[in-house]
Assembly symmetry: C2
Homo-oligomer: 337 residues x 2
């Protein structure tokens, strides 16, 4: 393995000089810089990031923490896009990222986790899909032992950046669009259209925001609103749709999986009313649900999140980043290429 020493020798300079041009330090003549770069090329040298990390005491390593629930394989797309987006941006920024699932952290204390991550040279963490129930992770974040970026959760301090879409606005828009696009589904003679909103899990940080958006839409459109919590469970959303959805004109769901559950439940009862979801995953179309959702661009969110992590490691302060979203209609024909 060719090391910095070989490069130095080959270029006829000192090791430290090579290190300086590698790290773009000032105070290096163009001439020597060229010499070094030529040597690097000729020897096909690649810096050893392990050694660099050990020496500099900051690895620039980031851990991606997420919780793909084993039971809901249909939603894997979300996590895959998170991972793809995060790794792409890590690669681009030249920092390395490791993926850590909550399941690997089970029955570990905050201290255990901190030590584990430290031993791995982790300097920053990016947390996806945090819920208030995940106490350990929440404490981990609040300990601020690492530079932290949280996706879809309201934490912002000097060391914590928050990234996510505006869930209130997104839910508002998708609800309005769904109701307005389907005026015919209101029973004739009915005074006000009725909407069943199947919200997520109360403990989830996004739930309150989305519910607020739904309420705003209901007020503006003067529709009567019933709210139930489906806990992001497809089965539970199905039950709710069967019972509470019986006399409603619209069902609006806080997740695609719940929308699928609701639609399939309705099919059994023979009813056919507009249902909309939220996440914009391909599964919707496969499940035969041609309906509105919010396109969340998980890839972009994760991509940005890692960039924000890098920003924190570079000494900048935490901040809140609001990502754009857009409303789309998922259709099978758009999926199959």
């Amino acid at each position: 393995m060719v090391s910095i020493k070989d490069v130095a020798k080959h270029a006829g300079v000192a090791i430290s000089t090579v290190s300086k041009v590698l790290n773009n330090y000032p105070n290096v003549t163009e001439t020597t810089k060229n010499k070094v770069n030529r040597a690097i090329k000729e020897l096909n040298y690649v810096p050893n990031s392990i050694a660099a990390a050990l020496s500099s005491k900051h690895s620039g390593r980031v851990a991606l923490l997420m919780d793909p629930v084993r039971e809901t394989r249909g939603a894997d797309q979300i996590y895959m896009e998170y991972i793809l987006g995060a790794l792409d941006s890590a690669r681009e920024l030249g920092i390395d990222a490791i993926t850590v699932f909550f399941s690997m952290l089970e029955n570990m204390t905050v201290d255990d986790i901190t030590r584990y991550l430290r031993s791995q040279g982790v300097q920053a963490i990016v947390v996806f899909g945090l819920s208030q129930e995940t106490k350990v992770i929440r404490n981990l974040i609040q300990e601020e032992d690492f530079f932290t970026v949280v996706v879809d959760a309201p934490f912002v301090t000097d060391g914590i950046t928050s990234v996510g879409i505006d869930h209130t606005e997104a839910q508002y828009q998708v609800a309005v669009k769904t109701i307005k696009e389907n005026p015919g589904s209101v029973q004739p003679g009915e005074s006000a259209p009725s909407v069943l909103y199947i919200a997520g899990r109360g403990a989830d940080y996004t739930t309150a925001d989305r519910t607020k958006g739904m309420k705003k839409a209901a007020e503006e459109l003067k529709v009567s609103l019933s709210i139930r919590y489906g806990d992001f469970s497809e089965a539970k959303a199905g039950s709710i749709a069967r019972v509470t959805g019986r006399d409603k004109d619209f069902i609006i769901c806080a997740s695609d999986l719940m929308a699928i559950g609701a639609v399939n439940a309705l099919k059994e009862t023979g009813r056919n009313i507009p249902v909309c979801g939220f996440d914009g995953i391909a599964l919707m179309a496969y499940a035969g649900c041609d309906m509105n959702t919010v396109r969340q661009d998980f890839y972009e969110i994760a991509n940005t999140a890692v960039k924000e992590a890098k920003r924190l490691m570079d000494g900048e302060k935490g901040r809140q980043v609001v990502m754009p979203h857009r409303i789309v209609r998922m259709a099978y024909s758009d999926i199959v290429k």
Copy 2:
């Protein structure tokens, strides 16, 4: 940060002694071992794996190479399970794993990739879903610069282990089961039932094996067999089903995604014949395809693959590992909990 030196001092022994108990070396008295362990506990010491890797020259780090195609989000489950399985077993074995997608390696030469991985301290690679078309990766494997485990591809040398199911047998079984379970779908008066087999991509290592299994089943059951290549494309499988499937009694597909494409194409034409897939992903059930597939247990395969990588790093020779498979019927009700 508390280091090995602190532990040594605290325990009143030499640094190397601490290192020895850390790495379970022989020739250490129980007494000193206890002293050291106590010190470790008291100081809350965590070994720095970065330093260990630098010093020992073998990081035990493994890179997971895979190629989740961005267009087929429905099949993300496969990659998620690969990742989950691999990371779980890496965590269990105490080695760290990084995930690398083919897309991150685009327009890099074998040399570039080797250097990149080396710079990351990668010692072993696990390659998922290799196709003969991916020349660069194939060359990377054959260079044998890293300990290598390939999933579903026929490479075995002293430094390369191959892990996967028996695709011939699996395809044989699922085909037989599908045909036997649906005797009624054969047109009355017809001499021999006819089967359309939509194979994968010719360049894929699994394709030949699966096709062999299909042929064997066709011979045994005395059915006439037509073979077309769907290239694992849902759309292409749809076209094939529409055209070539028009007069067939069964359609058997080499992947779930193609099965879904075929089923949806058939729906348009109003025909309803048995169709089976292969991978056993949840999407099948969501897509309303209640049909046979091979349950491949991607999680288990990846889990095993990483263990095999560890085995290679421990100095054992490469070998072939055949994983079990089983045939299941995917139904929506089994998916939704």
